[in-house]
């Protein structure tokens, strides 16, 4: 165990994977000489050379399309998209190719690519360096979507993603890249995809969050203890596949649910969570489900602090939910 930041954990996972398997190839913009704009790939060019750490031209559909080709051959490409906000030129490759190759070929051409992308707000990045658009990917059958919230999970989930058989979009909460270091197991540490983590046990209400919203929700939960409210905090970790059993188990216990995400509310990922509860936990629900989310607008710059779910907003939503009839 060593103490690492989340971004260091990402770097460690990449290094581990590349050492363990010569088929792991990295590609992306500025990942070589520059080590990535967030330094996720620091030192890797030096250790593994240009053939395995490829600086690419400025074109995301080229990056993903090339990675798809490598995966069709049997390599394990891990592509960095500099910011999730810049993934859209590759959207066609993701939706039409990456996610559909296995199915459409009757299983002849599985296509295992990992796309790493820093996402989310809180870094004063404005409209195009802050978005949280996981919901644009979670509805695409054939694609896994994973979001760590701690350094240990970042390493464990990334290693699992790289050695998975399916395409994975790996979203990195850049807001906590450096701010919340934690213990990270050495070596081949894996966290299975599709299993949620109970970040905090509680009895009064279930709070669901992922990525950078986990520590914010955690703080809100802690603050409520004093008032005798004991929320359970579930860190989803993997949005696809979703650990539905964990979600239902928690709400069956608490009877109440607060869902937190940075993305706008309307048709956000939280909608699916709420829908599952309306379908499968209706009789357990003692209070309306509540979503604490970004607003249904683009992401602002100067007023970012008012846009993102805060400890305050989450606390109030939890209180309201617990107090509801």
């Amino acid at each position: 165990m060593t103490e690492s930041t989340l971004i260091q954990a990402v770097n460690q996972a990449l290094r581990e994977a590349m050492r363990a398997d010569p088929d792991v190839i990295l590609l992306g913009e500025d990942i070589g000489v520059n080590g990535g704009v967030f330094r996720a790939t620091e030192g890797l060019l030096k250790e593994f050379g240009e053939d395995r750490v490829m600086d690419t031209p400025l074109n995301e559909s080229g990056i993903v399309g090339t990675a798809v080709g490598m995966a069709l051959y049997g390599l394990k490409p891990v592509a960095e998209i500099q910011f999730l906000d810049f993934i859209y030129p590759a959207f066609d490759q993701i939706v039409s190719e990456l996610a559909k190759l296995r199915y459409r070929s009757g299983g002849q051409f599985p296509c295992h690519v990992v796309l790493r992308a820093p996402y989310g707000g809180g870094i004063k990045g404005g409209l195009y360096h802050s978005q949280s658009t996981e919901q644009l990917f979670t509805s695409i059958p054939g694609l896994k979507v994973v979001v760590p919230s701690t350094p240990a999970d970042a390493k464990g989930l990334l290693l699992s993603s790289i050695f998975d058989e399916d395409p994975v979009l790996f979203l990195e909460p850049k807001r906590i890249y450096r701010s919340l270091p934690g213990e990270v197991p050495e070596g081949d540490h894996r966290v299975p995809l599709g299993s949620a983590r109970i970040a905090r046990e509680g009895a009064d209400v279930s709070v669901f969050a992922y990525g950078a919203m986990v520590p914010v929700a955690q703080q809100a939960c802690q603050g409520l203890d004093a008032q005798g409210i004991h929320p359970e905090l579930v860190d989803l970790r993997s949005l696809v596949p979703l650990d539905e059993a964990a979600v239902l188990r928690s709400v069956e216990k608490t009877g109440r649910a607060v869902i937190v995400h940075e993305a706008p509310r309307f048709c956000g990922y939280g909608a699916e969570l709420a829908a599952i509860l309306a379908e499968k936990a209706l009789y357990s629900l003692k209070a309306p489900v509540v979503r604490v989310t970004g607003y249904d607008t683009p992401f602002p710059y100067a007023l970012e602090h008012l846009y993102l779910p805060s400890v305050d907003r989450i606390s109030r939503a939890i209180e309201r939910t617990v107090r509801a009839a």
Partner: protein, 357 residues
């Protein structure tokens, strides 16, 4: 370049192609044409749902595929039936896909002509235009990394040169000197849009200029010329010389697909002109001029091809559709909890839901 432009070469370039080889190519071209004949009819008869004809482009497809090695990777579009035939894919496998039946390797999941044959390094085809182009770059780089002396070849049309992935694929290939052949069949039309309105560039071949590697325009109805151009590009690529863009100038003699009516947008005169350049006729005439082929032999070849196709249809047509439960396979390597539940519900409801078997 106007639509009627006469391609760079004309006649039949026999360069290095012996009579027996050319006869083999002719047979493949006829096989493709025979499949087209029946494919169009089967669709009209409602026996298959859709069909994409190759007619007119057999010279380009057969010439290109014949110049490749079995280890080379192919990233095709939806009109590459003659490429698959040249590769040696059995007619029954092709027809299984057209019928979407139980023996379709793709389990009936795609429209006709969207083939995938892993065993033949013939990558799964999709409908969106151009997406296969960067795949060839990735395959080529992967193969090079593993020390394989092979190329990846991607097939696409004149319309596809406008796609985003044409740009990204060619640019990446140039930067990494990837062993790729970009094989563009300029068949003069992208559905109803003539080549002249697709781009103002004089040739499509010259687009390679933008990426720093050679672009070659070749008479796509001259199977020998295509063969030679591909051989050359392949040799350059495997020797580390990087990619080549080949523009094979040809013509789609039939409709875009069975959903299309070309009379809406092009003239009978144009069609007649290009019929006079039919690649099958040209190869036939050249062989006849050399006294290497008789009318009779040709007819035999054609009838043979037709019989092969008919036999394959007979074999494949009676097969049942895929097992309904295959609906729930292959989205991911394992089903998500939600899909598992959907499958269970499907099974529970099956008797009522009109399952076909």
């Amino acid at each position: 370049m106007s639509v009627q432009a006469v391609p760079a070469t004309s006649g039949d370039s026999a360069e290095g192609l012996s009579v027996p080889v050319r006869k083999r190519l002719l047979r493949l071209m006829l096989l493709s044409r025979a499949l087209d004949e029946r494919g169009m009819t089967l669709q009209r008869q409602g026996r298959i749902g859709f069909y994409v004809p190759v007619e007119g482009q057999e010279g380009a497809q057969v010439g290109c595929a014949a110049a490749l090695e079995p280890e080379d990777w192919l990233c095709p579009g939806y009109r590459e039936t003659a490429v698959a035939l040249t590769r040696g894919v059995p007619l029954t496998l092709l027809l299984s896909q057209l019928y979407g039946g139980r023996t379709d390797l793709c389990l009936g999941r795609q429209m006709p002509n969207h083939f995938a044959f892993r065993q033949y390094r013939f990558v799964s085809t999709s409908s969106p235009i151009g997406t296969q182009i960067p795949h060839a770059v990735g395959l080529a780089l992967a193969a090079r990394l593993k020390g394989e002396k092979v190329v990846a070849v991607t097939f696409f049309g004149d319309g596809a040169t406008s796609s985003n992935d044409f740009h990204s694929g060619l640019n990446f290939a140039g930067v990494y000197k990837a062993p790729v052949i970009f094989f563009c069949q300029n068949n003069q039309w992208a559905i109803s849009l003539p080549r002249s309105k697709q781009t103002r560039s004089e040739t499509l071949a010259q687009k390679a200029e933008a990426y720093g590697f050679p672009g070659v325009q070749v008479d796509g109805n001259d199977v020998g010329a295509v063969y030679a151009a591909v051989k050359e590009a392949r040799a350059r690529a495997t020797a580390g010389g990087g990619p080549t863009l080949i523009e094979a100038v040809t013509y789609r003699m039939g409709p875009h697909t069975t959903s299309d009516d070309p009379r809406r947008y092009r003239s009978p005169e144009e069609l007649a002109l290009w019929k006079s350049r039919d690649p099958v006729e040209r190869l036939k005439e050249a062989l006849e001029k050399e006294h290497a082929l008789s009318e009779e032999e040709f007819d035999q070849l054609l009838e043979g091809a037709r019989a092969e196709v008919a036999a394959a249809i007979q074999e494949v047509e009676p097969l049942p559709p895929p097992d309904p439960l295959t609906l729930f396979d292959d989205t991911l390597s394992r089903r998500t909890p939600q899909l598992e539940e959907q499958r269970a519900a499907f099974l529970a409801e099956a008797p009522v839901s009109g399952r076909k078997e």
